[in-house]
């Protein structure tokens, strides 16, 4: 089945069930979260994954028949069909608590810069690429969004509509 931008199509469980070669599988999505961020697959045990729009992956607690011709299903979690898969800010805020790898912790001033949408020079000796950015809120490290780390710089990936001067 070709990708349809108006319908939600459930991700195939594994490669064997895949008829669109470009569509991610549930197994690949779970592997992405585990391998890149250390978020265990069980985190998503009760959720179904869907694609609407090329590479836009949604996650839902509900279980409607596929394809589903509706306006929204759960939340967007991931962009696939590109070289580096990119998690959404919303997914990171909701599920990034369990992350153990590629997590960059900011102080309050750095977090303020990040949330305003501004890039900043920072030292980071881990992998380059998309990172889960955290800062302290109410005495604990909390995921605040997604950053892209390259060339000594943390590039804020906070979407325009979510940026705030705090």
């Amino acid at each position: 089945m070709s990708n349809d931008s108006t319908k939600f199509t459930r991700l195939p469980a594994t490669d064997a069930e895949r008829d669109d070669p470009e569509r991610a599988t549930r197994r690949e999505v779970l592997e992405f979260w585990t391998e890149r961020f250390g978020v265990p697959a069980e985190t998503f045990a009760d959720h179904t994954f869907w694609e609407r729009g090329a590479g836009k992956i949604w996650l839902s607690r509900g279980d409607p028949p596929s394809p589903a011709d509706i306006e929204g299903l759960g939340m967007t979690v991931l962009r696939t069909r590109q070289e580096h898969w990119k998690p959404t800010l919303e997914a990171v805020q909701r599920f990034g608590d369990d992350a153990t790898e590629n997590v960059l912790h900011l102080d309050r001033s750095q977090a303020t810069t990040f949330v305003a949408g501004d890039d900043q020079e920072l030292d980071w000796d881990g992998d380059w690429g998309y990172l889960i950015v955290t800062h302290d809120l109410a005495g604990e490290a909390e995921p605040v969004g997604v950053g892209l780390y390259v060339y000594g710089e943390l590039r804020s990936q906070v979407p325009k509509g979510r940026r705030r001067d705090l």
């Binding site: 839902s60 589903a68 509706i70 929204g72 959404t88 909701r94 109410a138």
Partner: protein, 302 residues
């Protein structure tokens, strides 16, 4: 605000009512328990130096006397959502349980939708319907910011809601928080009555009847439907209930509400309604220093 004069006969201490309608309301926030606990929000607001006053009847609501709801860290993390006290009533009365299927018939911009999802511990399915694509976009933004994964959004007129995309299954509960003449929001929006007319009240009442009837039809026998408005007009409140009680298989049930309120009115403008409409509750601005609201709980019988 001369429109409110028509309620002189049904509102006790009318002068206090009018005076309350003239006073602005501070902003209030609801704790989004999908992402944070009440205690975490309390600490985060305190750390940020934001004054937050708890609300007596609901653990998860704070009034922010000095600040808007959206310009702080807990908001950015989706820990809080700007929502007025009375707006938190209907989802609380509906009392949805984890794992249930719930329909939110007029969902955008999603304050009550996300409250339903939170009450269900984000487990089950909340089908959120609205007929306006612009408002659906706000609904989706709020759903995502609050991290609700159990919400499915449909674009349709609630009067013609289709169960087809969900395989035909009916609902355990439905929330019918209808578009209305918004008289009760005057303290938040002083222009709320600028376009008020009796013909608008009567016209919107027809839509309200259609949506409430559909909600009763798609809810399983034994299931619960909550009907609410933010207006005082009996045409949009008790008269709508009276119509649906006669036309559909349902009855009005009593419920507890820990806010000062008055019973539904059984007579208005020469008309009398099914005596059961007394079980609905009217919330007036001067009794609890809130906005105005109307809320009724129905059980589906057929």
């Amino acid at each position: 605000m001369e429109q409110l004069e028509r309620y002189r006969a049904i509102v006790d201490d009318f002068a206090a009512f009018r005076a309350a309608c003239d006073r602005p309301l501070p902003s209030a926030v609801r704790v989004n328990t999908i992402k944070a606990t009440v205690e975490q929000v309390r600490v985060a607001l305190d750390d940020a130096g934001i004054a937050a006053e708890p609300v007596g009847w609901h653990d998860g609501l704070f009034v922010l006397p000095e600040q808007s709801a959206g310009a702080n860290w807990p908001y950015f993390h989706g820990w809080t959502h700007g929502q007025e006290e009375v707006s938190a009533i209907p989802a609380t009365v509906l009392d949805p349980q984890p794992g249930e299927r719930v329909w939110d018939a007029c969902a955008a911009p999603g304050s009550k939708t996300t409250q339903l999802a939170a009450l269900m511990d984000d487990r089950g399915e909340v089908v959120a319907t609205d007929n306006n694509l612009g408002r659906i976009s706000a609904l989706r933004t709020n759903t995502e910011r609050l991290g609700a994964t159990s919400v499915a959004v449909t674009h349709e007129d609630g009067r013609n809601h289709s169960l087809k995309p969900f395989g035909g299954a009916g609902y355990d509960r439905a929330l019918v928080d209808v578009p209305c003449s918004c008289e009760g929001t005057i303290r938040k929006n002083p222009d709320a009555l600028a376009d008020w007319s009796l013909s608008h009240v009567e016209g919107v009442a027809g839509v309200q009847k259609g949506i409430l009837a559909r909600a009763v039809q798609v809810t399983e026998p034994g299931g619960t439907v909550v009907y609410s408005t933010c207006t005082f007009a009996p045409e949009e409140n008790e008269a709508v209930l009276d119509h649906v009680l006669a036309a559909e298989d349902c009855e009005l049930v009593d419920y507890d509400l820990p806010l000062t309120h008055r019973d539904g009115v059984t007579e208005w403008d020469g008309e009398s309604f099914d005596p059961a409409v007394e079980r609905a509750k009217r919330i007036y601005p001067h009794h609890n220093d809130t906005g105005g609201f109307f809320c009724a709980k129905l059980e589906v019988t057929g």
